[in-house]
């Protein structure tokens, strides 16, 4: 079930992506409305990270096109923010928290120019938003998983973008961090920003997201959560994984009472 939206923030048309000629995603056709918090869900290896990387122009597309705010990525790169999977970098790198968060400004600062005071202030401001301002001088190797994720989020916030793509920001973080992150995402969405998040925890899907992209190499569903987060579509996406499926069934029952917060 693929529900399109008029005048979307993100539009993907007939997208096919391959690694070594082996297609990993094919025939993806979807749109995501402005101001939504959109979850990308699907089993391991479904191509969730691949989808985000293609949107960020990190992988060549075999076919199709992607438009953000009805423009090519290159035209509006400064309006687009990216949070890679936390494990994608070496956290033993000799850098401070502030060093990393400041990277969010590099695109704006431009080639061969130095960081200015305003950039530092923006970075400190972002650290305050994620509750990490006290840690700005700490080496990144001395952070917990949740704190690392907050630093990545702060780096994205300093980009002051209009659309955010995040790869598993809730993976391996403590409950307090998860709550802090979702609050920030809601505030951003309230300001009209669009958020697209790869997510693996089906329990929280219906409380966190108002739009869902369900993937399993091909697109299983895309649309408002209440329309596409159904037992039948989940079975289609996670097909075959029986233990998981019965778990999902249980979850769906619980989800009838939206009390989680």
């Amino acid at each position: 079930m693929i529900i399109q939206t008029e005048n979307p923030a993100l539009e993907i048309h007939d997208l096919t992506v391959s690694y070594d000629r082996k297609p990993v995603l094919w025939g993806i056709d979807l749109s995501v409305p402005y101001g939504s918090i959109c979850g990308i869900i699907g089993p391991n290896g479904a191509g969730k990270s691949t989808l985000i990387k293609s949107v960020m122009g990190l992988i060549p597309l075999s076919s199709g096109y992607i438009k953000i705010f009805n423009q090519e990525l290159d035209e509006i790169r400064l309006k687009v923010s990216y949070v890679p999977q936390r494990e994608s970098v070496d956290w033993d790198f000799p850098a401070s928290v502030l060093d990393i968060v400041m990277m969010g400004r590099y695109g704006k600062v431009g080639l061969f120019r130095n960081i200015r005071k305003a950039d530092k202030e923006a970075a400190m401001n972002a650290l305050e938003q994620v509750g990490m301002e006290k840690f700005y001088r700490r080496q990144i190797s001395q952070l917990s998983g949740g704190q690392q994720q907050r630093v990545f989020l702060a780096r994205a916030l300093t980009q002051q973008a209009d659309i955010y793509f995040m790869d598993e920001p809730f993976a391996g973080v403590d409950a307090a961090t998860e709550k802090a992150i979702i609050q920030i995402l809601r505030r951003l969405a309230g300001e009209g920003k669009t958020i697209v998040v790869v997510h693996h925890d089906l329990q929280s899907v219906s409380t966190y997201f108002n739009w869902i992209i369900m993937l399993n190499l091909r697109l299983v569903a895309s649309g408002p959560t209440e329309k596409v987060f159904t037992q039948q579509l989940l079975e289609e996406a996670y097909g075959g994984k029986l233990t998981l499926l019965s778990e999902v069934g249980e979850l769906m029952k619980k989800e009838q009472v939206p009390t989680r917060e």
Binding site: M56, R77, D90, M103, G107, A176
Partner: protein, 296 residues
């Protein structure tokens, strides 16, 4: 006077190597320098044959081209061939080096060239090889001048593109996402590594170049928590390897390059042992302070 010239040249090589080596280590590409220092051999031999002698500029050019080709091949096999980086490095430099060895043995009969003079260039001869102008005035040892130019280039490169190198080393995907090409900066850095390797090893030999590219930065990495400090500290360890290495060689009347590499290794060992103790103490205090960290 000769001692000072040798130490000075050694220090220039050491600082150049330590600076670039810091980036190589953080990019997990330390062994690329080893590959380059071997893979340039065929370039040197071919340049030697074409120039008809030890024309330094021709040798530098031949080696430089091969050095850059090596970094391209390593990246090519890694990206397109899906080889692990280390396998890709191994494949690339062994056959290029072998090609060089064949060329050397083939031409050795009619030319003054042998592996020793390329791979184990002798820093002790630095003061002897001076540049003399047509007017008969001496400019100073060639190696000293070449290495000064190389070091200035490296310092400029790092100063001007510090943040580009920083972001593409830490998080290449994010760099690409904000419009800073990780590939471009990879090749820019590798070209400079090739140049430095080639320029240094004519004067100090390949083994010392590789030792200085890896050991001082690895030592600094154990100590520091900031990239800027790592660059400074590894340069300092590089210089002290050159100074104490010379003194050691003088005392035992041994190979200067060998002594410098040895001192670099000893420094690493000492720092390694000390930092192990320090980290143990740190972990203990970190556990105690865990409760005081704010969570939201």
């Amino acid at each position: 006077m000769n001692a000072i010239l040798i130490i000075l040249t050694g220090s220039l090589v050491a600082i150049s190597c330590s600076l670039l080596g810091s980036y190589l280590i953080l990019r997990k590409m330390a062994m690329v320098s080893d590959a380059i220092s071997h893979a340039v051999l065929p370039g040197i031999v071919i340049a030697f044959m074409m120039a008809g002698g030890r024309d330094s500029l021709a040798l530098l050019l031949g080696a430089g081209i091969l050095g850059i080709l090596t970094t391209f091949l390593i990246e090519f096999f890694h990206q397109k061939g899906k080889l692990q980086t280390d396998a890709s490095i191994g494949v690339t430099f062994t056959w290029l080096f072998a090609l060089g060895v064949i060329l050397v043995s083939y031409y050795a009969g009619n030319a003054h060239i042998d592996q020793d003079c390329v791979l184990y260039g002798e820093i002790a001869y630095v003061p002897l090889d001076v540049i003399i102008l047509d007017s008969g005035q001496s400019l100073g040892p060639k190696a000293l001048i070449v290495m000064s130019v190389v070091l200035v280039l490296i310092l400029l490169f790092i100063k001007v593109s510090y943040k580009e190198l920083f972001i593409t080393t830490f998080d290449p995907s994010f760099a690409n996402a904000v419009g800073i090409s990780a590939t471009f900066w990879h090749y820019a850095l590798m070209s400079l590594v090739s140049l430095t390797t080639v320029a240094s090893f004519e004067s100090v030999g390949a083994i010392l170049v590789v030792a200085l590219l890896i050991t001082p930065p690895a030592t600094a990495y154990l100590i520091t928590e900031r990239l800027k400090k790592m660059l400074i500290i590894s340069s300092a360890f590089g210089v002290s390897s050159a100074v104490f290495g010379y003194l050691l060689a003088y005392t035992i009347d041994g190979s200067i390059a060998g002594a410098m590499a040895t001192v670099a290794g000893i420094q690493f060992a000492i720092v390694f042992v000390i930092m192990k103790k320090v980290n143990k103490a740190r972990t203990r205090s970190a556990v105690l302070s865990l409760e005081s960290e704010p969570t939201s």
